[in-house]
Amino acid sequence: MSLVIESLTVEHGAIRAVNNVSFSVKKGELAALIGANGAGKTTLLRTLSGLNKASHGKAHWLDTNLLHAKPEQLVRHGVSHVSEGKSVIPELTVEENLEIGALWRRNKKEMSQSKALILELFPRLGERLLQRADTLSGGERQMLALGRSLMSKPELLLLDEPSLGLAPLVVEQIFQSIRELTKTMGITVLLVEQNAMGALKIADVGIVLNLGAVAISGTASSLIADPAVRAAYLGY
């Protein structure tokens, strides 16, 4: 097991957003964390990347304790978080948005190598390098956010709602490229999604969160086949 979460609890004042959650993800796996709005998915992800503080519990990625580090330190340990809603800086150019992901490595050569690789993966970004990020379409922004994250050569990728606000056709493309990229690069992924069906289709395993606690977990195909999951989360 590589990502191990044990009895994790996160409180916002009096509200328990994440309640005694335990699960683990094997190295190289793509795990989908699904559940209704307000189930605590985003809070959980923000806690794993150091943006929110946990109240109790443990969370480790390999040897790294995820609960006592700042996000900028976790990036240096291979943990990268793409936050909700196209995590790009609108005022910066496409190229600058990519470059900030590799600044911490202080290595110009590695930076340009990573950049070349990402532009190969997302040629659309290459055509728009010098444009401000706010001139991009929703799908292109999501590609840019992913690209920025890949610039830091992550081993664990925390993805928050990459499908948010995108057209159905674009969602499918984004999901497919997430699957292909992370499998080729051997990146472990924890994917938080409202679009449960789309996420489970590309995932190896699934975890269903309800009111801050794990309701069901299992292989993605078993969740898709489960009548209870289908009725509650997949809409049919």
């Binding site: 900028e72 800086i89 900030i100």
Partner: protein, 302 residues
């Protein structure tokens, strides 16, 4: 004709010094979203360090960079041990918007008192490294002296260096990213806290340069209650707001505009109206273009 030329020259020279101060305000605003009224005190303290160096070595040329370094060190210290704690403890509720402003006003008083304690309250004097006597053109004396020419060149040089840092270096990219979106910057691996301290120290250096140049441009005297530094703060702040508070180019343009307008009022209307004009200009800009003279559709981001 010569009067017109001289008015423009006075306006540009004054504006160029205001622009350093405005740049300092913008740098601090961009890194921590604080309007730093202590900037005048920090600039004054840096200039006192410069005065000490001149006193010991006799060289303005040594004193100028050392005053800038001292300004950077003072600003970094204030950000590290004071502002960081303050912003952490007053990050929520009504106090969040007012506490930093009150705190910087308090700091301004504190720094002035410290200066008074160590250097006394009477004037000390810095000699100009260049003549303050204007160049002559035929029978006319221009309002451009070797000292003023040096000030113009120094400000252009410093502004260019600063723009290069911001636009062409990784450090500049980190500064801009952290200003626009601290959270995404953190997730990308940028040490935003460190970057903020650096933003403050750049501001401190710009303020130190403004103080040294302003003192050598004026009558050369320094005191804890220096009127010149109070004006520098007021006009630097107004220039920064006119420029949108978020933009370096805006700060420079705002300062030049302010310098020119004030020079024309001084020459053609009367000295007693200079203050009123500065504040009327501020109000007009705030009413017509609250985002500053070069604001874009996106406007400011909190």
């Amino acid at each position: 004709m010569f009067q017109l030329l001289n008015t423009v020259l006075i306006g540009i020279t004054a504006g160029s010094i205001y622009s350093l101060m405005a740049i300092a305000m913008v740098l601090v605003w961009r890194s921590t979203r604080v309007v730093n009224f202590a900037q005048a005190g920090m600039a004054l303290l840096s200039t006192y360090f410069g005065y000490e160096i001149i006193h010991m070595s006799g060289s303005y040329w040594l004193a100028l960079p050392i005053a800038m370094l001292a300004g950077a060190a003072v600003a970094a210290t204030i950000e590290l041990i004071f502002m960081r704690l303050l912003l952490k403890h007053s990050s929520q509720g009504a106090i969040a918007s007012i506490a930093p402003i009150i705190a910087t006003l308090g700091l301004l008083g504190l720094i002035k008192s410290i200066i008074g304690y160590f250097w006394g309250n009477q004037d000390v004097t810095i000699d100009s490294p260049f003549s303050n006597v204007g160049f002559t053109l035929g029978s006319h004396t221009l309002a451009l002296s070797p000292m003023k020419l040096f000030i113009l060149l120094a400000v252009v040089f410093l502004t260019l260096v600063l723009s290069l840092i911001f636009q062409k270096t990784n450090l500049g990219l980190a500064l801009r990213a952290s200003a626009y979106s601290p959270e995404i910057s953190r997730l990308a691996g940028i040490k935003v806290d460190l970057v903020r301290t650096f933003g403050w120290s750049l501001a401190g250096a710009a303020g130190g340069a403004a103080g040294m140049l302003q003192t050598a441009n004026g009558n050369g005297t320094l005191s804890p209650d220096s009127l010149e530094f109070s004006l520098l703060l007021a006009f630097g702040f107004i220039a920064a707001v006119i420029g949108g508070l978020d933009s370096l180019i805006g700060a420079v343009l705002g300062a030049l505009l302010l310098g020119l307008v004030l020079a024309f009022v001084l020459t053609y209307v009367g000295g007693s109206l200079v203050f009123i004009t500065a504040f009327v200009l501020l109000l007009v800009v705030l009413l017509i273009r609250p985002g500053g003279i070069i604001s874009q559709k996106a406007g400011r981001r909190a």
